[in-house]
């Protein structure tokens, strides 16, 4: 249930940005969440519905883009997505690869009224 803590973080950042732009109404919050995070999308949406009341995001919609887990091989520079499970070895040369995307937890933009 750390989604609640994460949702609080989202609301704090969104409200701060809205205040910076002299707005009291956030209509949309767009997130980018990597598939290689411990975040459950449904739990995040549920937490958001529960705690948005009484905030500037009371009428906001939450839009979540799931970012694919993508890796790069440091030996041969091959970039690849996981085909099954979360295999971290390069399909070309079998060297251990590094994550280049899939760990994101980011607010991409907010819409203000």
């Amino acid at each position: 249930m750390h989604e609640l803590a994460i949702t609080q973080g989202i609301l704090e950042i969104a409200e701060r940005e809205a205040a910076k732009h002299n707005s009291v109404c956030i209509t949309r919050i767009k997130l980018r969440i990597g598939e290689f995070t411990g975040v459950v999308r449904e739990a995040l949406e549920f937490s958001f519905e529960v705690i948005k009341h009484g905030t500037l995001a009371e009428n906001a919609e939450l839009e979540i883009e799931v970012v694919k887990l993508c890796k790069r091989c440091p030996s041969c520079d091959e970039v690849f997505e996981s085909k099954d499970q979360f295999d971290f070895f390069c399909p070309r040369c079998n060297a251990p690869a590094e994550i280049i995307s899939g760990r994101e937890m980011q607010i991409e933009y907010i819409d203000l009224d």
């Binding site: 249930m1 750390h2 803590a5 994460i6 973080g9 989202i10 704090e12 950042i13 969104a14 940005e17 809205a18 732009h21 209509t27 997130l31 290689f36 995070t37 411990g38 975040v39 499970q85 979360f86 295999d87 971290f88 070895f89 251990p96 690869a97 994550i99 937890m105 980011q106 607010i107 991409e108 933009y109 907010i110 819409d111 203000l112 009224d113």
Partner: protein, 232 residues
């Protein structure tokens, strides 16, 4: 309607406080280890066995995280090592701010090594940086060989994975080879230490690795301080 690009990391606040913790630990010369696992994997037992082997060599401290009770702190106290209990109430992980607040009530001056035992949970603690130097995960073999694939994030984040309770393998029927391969699939660079806190098997290998890892980090810090002093 207008659109405001934000581009901010959601855990930004946690990461800022974690960075402050990290600076504070560095300035005090304390090496910090974040110990994570599911409930019951044996984090406290691993700490007890580790402490017994290194307490004559290093000044140690432990911060314990649990939803309730001071049972774990009491076990560390019994070994004569200073310990502080964070009780989170309902929160399923430690965050950087809880650790920061604990440091108001728990002195770390003079310590060489501080263990932070996270709340027992196989998912959430992996996302929260506490300002540690090293993340370690304890996994008990009886939890099943397929778990690294089902819960890959914590395995991937941990530099060392301690496979505890290998003495129970004859009863659980779990294959240690399969488990180790699954850990390496999701975390190719992980250092893996099969061990049993009950029999003591394998603990020395982990402790020796930890001491080398700690000394390497300490050397790096003194070197960068020296380089900083020279450039001034």
């Amino acid at each position: 309607m207008h659109r405001i690009p934000v581009g901010t990391n959601i855990l930004e606040v946690n990461e800022q406080i974690a960075e402050e913790n990290r600076q504070l630990f560095r300035a005090r010369g304390v090496f910090v280890v974040n110990v994570m696992s599911a409930p019951g994997a044996g984090k406290t037992s691993v700490l007890e066995e580790t402490i017994k082997r290194i307490r004559s060599r290093y000044r140690l401290g432990v911060i314990e995280g649990d939803l309730m009770t001071t049972l774990d702190k009491d076990r560390i106290d019994a070994l004569g090592v200073p310990a502080y209990q964070i009780t989170t109430g309902t929160v399923c992980h430690l965050d950087a701010n809880m650790v920061h607040n604990a440091l108001h009530g728990f002195g770390i001056d003079g310590l060489d090594l501080l263990f932070i035992e996270n709340v027992g949970n196989l998912v959430c603690p992996a996302e929260f940086d506490l300002g540690e130097d090293l993340k370690v995960m304890v996994f008990s073999t009886v939890e099943g060989a397929e778990k690294p694939k089902k819960y890959p994030v914590m395995f991937h984040e941990a530099e060392a994975v301690l496979l505890n309770k290998i003495d129970l393998i004859p009863y659980s029927g779990v294959s240690l080879d399969e488990l180790q391969n699954n850990v390496l699939d999701v975390s190719p660079e992980a250092e893996i230490f099969p061990m049993s806190c009950r029999t003591g098997e394998g603990i020395d290998d982990w402790v020796n690795w930890l001491m080398r890892r700690m000394e390497k980090a300490t050397l790096r810090v003194s070197y960068s301080r020296m380089a900083g002093a020279l450039s001034e």
